[in-house]
Amino acid sequence: MNAKALILFFLLPIAAWAQGFAGLGTDADGFTVPERGYHFTFPRDHGSHPDFRIEWWYLTANLEATDGTPYGLQWTLFRSALAPEEKEGWGSPQIWFAHAAVTTPEAHHVSERIARGGIGQAGVRAQPFDAWIDDWRMAGPDFDNLQLTATGADFAYDMTLTAQGPLIFQGDRGYSVKSREGQASYYYSQPFFAIKGTLSLPQGDIEVTGDAWLDREWSSQPLAVNQTGWDWFSLSFETGEKMMGFRLRQTDGAHFTAGTWISPQGETEPFANGVFNADPQDMSEVAGRQIPTGWRVTVPQKGVDITVTALNQAAWMDVNVPYWEGPVVVTGSHPGRGYLEMTGYE
């Protein structure tokens, strides 16, 4: 989910990153750089990695109320380090920020939090798992059973997550390449969460159930200099199969794509660059810009030819670095639902 790297790319000064681009595989300003063949250790790797520059816990969920109304939910905690270390107190170089959102067919509620590490305002602990910023929290006895809360000025939610399948590793056993130049991250997911709970919205409390997808990713390298933005899909088909795919847009008009096919049992099949295709079909005017809210996605080798449409075109995340993120409906060869994230549309 390198789109978040883009967010950070905008948030942090470009100069700080320049050295990272220049020497691939070398350490960037003392930060550790992902390496192919890394052995993940759990629960330790569910926690934070302060020696890496950027990291996130990224959860999206497709929900349904008892009356059949579809909803979407997002809970994202980002960590961004100014230096590869953690310190107690105000001097901590770790900055945390988080986005929470609830999307309904008619409305999109967003809230944002920012904090620094070291003083207890935000952080992540591996065991028992606890990720928090202010009053927002994702915590539980282990990574398979989590409680999720967030509040905004006009919404709140309280959810229970239960894993129904194994963790899956993106790219080459969790080493996810993001450009032809070789920028990469550590990337694993839990796409098999069952979720239920209560959405508090201005119109009242709503009981919902559905499925959720949690992404974990950390790195010290951002996008390549010629990459301008990102379209990311996480789709769950009615067959029980799932697919993650992303398309990085380049300044020269070309794209770099990657993806993973996930069987209902959690077996993975990574896509090389070019296997996953996504083409914008319908543009909508959102927040004064043209955003593709309808897509045609094809993966010929899997027989996938689907149309992906936003549940609510206005799912604009109006935060410090704004982007589009919301639930989608899938029709065509593989009907289903999922989440779509698009960044870098100016």
Binding site: L82, W90, G91, P93, I95, R116, I119, Q121
Partner: protein, 797 residues
């Protein structure tokens, strides 16, 4: 044609350079006084704004600790983790050699938009600011800070004076503190927020409005200054109006000739307007620069006054701000326009064939005098209406303005009547001629005399206010600082030890119990005191029973300060709810000058019933030998700053007042000088008209020397009459300032004291100034060659 026209117009000024100097200096002086005062104001305001903006004062609510201690970091985290969107602020002071710097630490990550680092002229990215961080410092303290700290210090003019803005972590390190001073509450909060009292009971939420209290107090000080500036400008306008009027009147012949020779009227008016605009430009520019000098000289005193009175920090150094350049030039242009429009209008309406001398400038017709009288009456009525009906500071100032203008316009009529009486009573023919001739002079001198009247009245009014304030304040200080030493204990345990230690030594020990709370729906300070001889003997009341302190001591009553009384509409005999379930009658209302917050005072016993957990940490003591007591306390283990000599506080407070006086006195001298200058220029310009008026008297046997002496006497008489009339006007002004403006602005009313000797001195000074101003014109008159006097007759047809 235009060049020829301009050369003709310009030739007039070249020919009468004195008139040109008068016009330009009058306008420049008026602009200088106005823009000088404005410069002081805008500098001070910019300073407060910078200080308030960092903390979002006036825009965001704040959480402040209920007692004097700071807010623990844990409390902040507890609030955040409960969802409260609050941002930490840590404030403190550090010494930097001879000066001190105010340290303000903020958290750019959580600061609500518009507070924190966004006040800087070049706001940094968060990562530049965090961690080892950059310190943004006001130019005044940047150098000293650079020597003191290792972090990079960046000079930023957006930072308040004597202040350095930095990350809260950097501030904590610099100040050696681990707590926080206050929390800014963001406007937008998440839904379902738990109550503050449940999660942080030690904190009080202060609304944005309350935080701006100091701002409103200082506003009133500036309003006073602005009024002074405006008054000075009006005085200046009288001069300019007079000079321009005369200059146009003298050029009526030229205007007629130019038109007869074929210059179109419109072109002529345009050229005259252009000429005035050029003068406004020159005089305005000089005026703004002069104003800058005045402001530069006065600002350190103003800064000290404001800091001493209200704790508001402003820079003692002045910056040339484009906005007051603009307003200064604007007021010069507006003033010239006002002063010249009448004259231009008369030129535009003058028939081509009218005799150029047809309307003598200096002779007010019966009709204009009637108009002046009517206008004066209308202004007096509106002043009375504004003051009696209205509420609010602006209306009070409007009433003040109407009163002054009305009085000024009534002056010629009043002087005329007095002189008519004198003329009727004159015995000798010489005296009769003198009075009649003086009366004839009044219209020509009226503008200058009005300026003198206003300057003198402002002088009397403002001095009376400030002196009354000083007398009241000294009394107040004596009563409030009656104890000899004031002791601040480190904690409650030490306080108890000190009290035990002092019991045999001191005549009287007065522990001060204190809690910040809300009374009568406003933030207030509640005190518990041990009523003894000191309170009974020294602490008087504006209104209250003789045994007020006795009833307080018995726990049967409370006394409150005037601010609370006026704000809440309470007075002696009313009941005040001092805590839930306890209501006490108010036994007295005491004056409490310079304090914006309401205060209520209970007996120690009653206070401890309400707040059993609070122990005093401060004491006042009365001792026979102050030095011995101090030495004993030091031996006991108290550090020097813990023992405060009340005399020092008193001296400091009085020092602040002396500064106020400096500013007031300087402005007084300036306005009076402007008025004297008006008299001088009026007399000089009148001199030409005087020759034909005096020639008959000379022909009938007055010597030129005696005519010159009478000329001087005439100026003295007119100035004296004006000064006498200025006294009641000034007293009215003082009354409005003390009884109306002060109550509106500060919440207290000051008793008015009069200072007849000062007024007499002022009158003497005014007359002296007028005499000095008249000396040169009179001398010139006395030396008028007889041929010039003869010409008067030969020219007559």
């Amino acid at each position: 044609m235009i060049a020829a026209g301009l050369s003709a117009l310009w030739s007039h000024w070249w020919h009468s350079k004195l008139q040109l100097v008068t016009l330009l200096s009058g306008l420049a002086l008026a602009t200088a006084l106005w823009s000088g005062v404005q410069a002081i104001n805008s500098e001070a305001r910019a300073s407060y704004d910078a200080a308030a903006a960092v903390l979002g004062e006036g825009r965001f609510d704040q959480l402040v600790p209920a007692n004097a201690e700071g807010i623990a970091l844990d409390t902040y985290i507890t609030l955040r983790r409960a969802g409260w969107q609050v941002s930490p602020v840590l404030e403190g002071e550090i010494g930097l050699g001879s000066t001190r710097a105010r340290i303000v630490g903020v958290d750019p990550l959580t600061a609500p938009g518009g507070s924190g680092t966004s006040v800087l002229s070049a706001p940094p990215e968060p990562q530049e600011f965090l961690g080892d961080g950059v310190i943004f410092a006001h130019p005044g303290v940047a150098d000293a800070l650079t020597e003191r700290v290792s972090a990079r210090v960046v000079v930023d003019t957006g930072v308040a004076p004597d202040t350095a803005l930095m990350d809260v972590g950097v501030a904590a390190q610099l100040l050696g503190r681990s707590d926080l001073s206050r929390l800014i509450v963001a406007t937008e909060q998440p839904m379902g927020l738990p109550a503050l009292s449940d999660i942080a009971p030690g904190l009080i939420r202060q609304s944005a409005q309350e935080g701006a209290e100091v701002g409103r107090l200082t506003d009133s000080f500036h309003l006073n200054l602005t009024a002074f500036g405006l008054l000075a400008f009006v005085v200046g306008l009288f001069i300019v109006h007079g000079t321009i009027g005369l200059a146009f009147e003298q050029r009526r012949g030229m205007v007629r000739t130019l038109r007869a020779l074929g210059m179109p009227l419109k072109t002529l008016i345009a050229l005259l307007a252009l000429e005035m605009a050029a003068f406004a430009l020159i005089a305005g520019g000089v005026g703004v620069l002069l104003g800058y000098l005045i402001a530069g000289a006065l600002l350190p005193d103003v800064a000290a006054t404001l800091e001493g009175l209200y704790g508001a920090q402003i820079s003692g150094a002045l910056r040339l701000r484009p906005d007051w350049w603009l307003t200064g030039m604007g007021i010069a242009f507006a003033g010239t326009l006002i002063a010249a429009s009448g004259a231009l209008w008369r030129i535009a309406r003058m028939p081509l064939l009218a005799s150029p001398g047809g309307r003598a400038w200096a002779v007010a017709t019966g009709q204009t005098r009637r108009w002046l009288g009517l206008a004066a009456l209308a202004l007096a009525v509106s002043a009375a209406l504004a003051l009696s009906l209205g509420q609010g500071l602006l209306l009070a100032f409007a009433g003040l303005g109407a009163l002054l203008m009305g009085a000024a316009l009534a002056l010629p009529t009043l002087l005329g009547s007095v002189l008519a009486v004198a003329e009727a009573r004159a015995q000798s023919i010489r005296a009769q001629w003198f009075w009649a001739d003086t009366r004839q002079q009044v219209p020509g001198l009226s503008l200058a005399l009005m300026a003198l009247l206003l300057a003198a009245a402002a002088n009397i009014g403002v001095s009376t206010m400030v002196s009354s304030f000083r007398i009241t304040f000294i009394d107040f200080l004596d009563q409030r600082l009656a104890s000899d030493l004031y002791i601040q204990a480190e904690d409650e345990r030490q306080a108890a030890e000190i009290e035990a230690f002092l019991a045999p030594e001191a005549q009287e020990i007065m522990p001060l119990l204190h809690v910040d709370t809300r009374l009568a729906d406003a933030p207030a300070e509640l005190y518990g005191v041990r009523v003894g001889a000191t309170y009974r003997d020294n602490w008087g009341f504006l209104d209250g029973a003789d045994d007020a302190w006795q009833t307080v001591a018995q726990g049967d009553a409370v006394v409150i300060n005037e601010q609370m009384a006026r704000r809440a509409g309470l007075w002696v005999g009313d009941d005040l709810t001092v805590a839930q379930g306890m209501s006490l009658p108010i036994a007295g209302v005491f004056g409490d000058y310079g304090n914006p917050v309401g205060q209520a005072v209970l007996s120690e016993m009653t206070f401890l019933q309400l707040y059993p957990d609070i122990r005093p940490t401060r004491f006042g003591i009365r001792v026979d030998d102050k030095d011995a007591a101090r030495a004993a306390l030091q031996d006991f283990g108290l550090k020097d700053p813990q023992i405060i000599d009340q005399q020092v506080i008193k001296d400091f407070s009085l020092g602040v007042f002396e500064r106020t006086f400096t500013v007031t006195a300087a402005l007084n001298v300036l306005t009076l000088s402007v008025a004297a200058f008006a008299i001088l220029t009026s007399l000089l310009t009148l001199a030409a008209i005087r020759v034909p008026q005096l020639a008959p008297a000379w022909a009938m046997g007055f010597t030129r020397a005696s005519l010159g002496r009478l000329e001087l006497l005439r100026a003295v008489v007119l100035a004296l009459l004006t000064m006498i009339l200025a006294v009641p006007l000034g007293l009215m002004l003082a009354w409005i300032l003390l009884a109306v403006v002060n109550v509106e602005a500060f919440g207290w009313r000051l008793p008015m004291f009069t200072f007849p000797l000062d007024y007499a001195k002022l009158a003497l000074f005014g007359v002296l100034a007028a005499a000095l101003a008249a000396l040169w014109p009179a001398r010139r008159l006395a030396r008028t060659p007889p041929a010039d006097l003869l010409k008067v007759f030969s020219n007559e047809r």
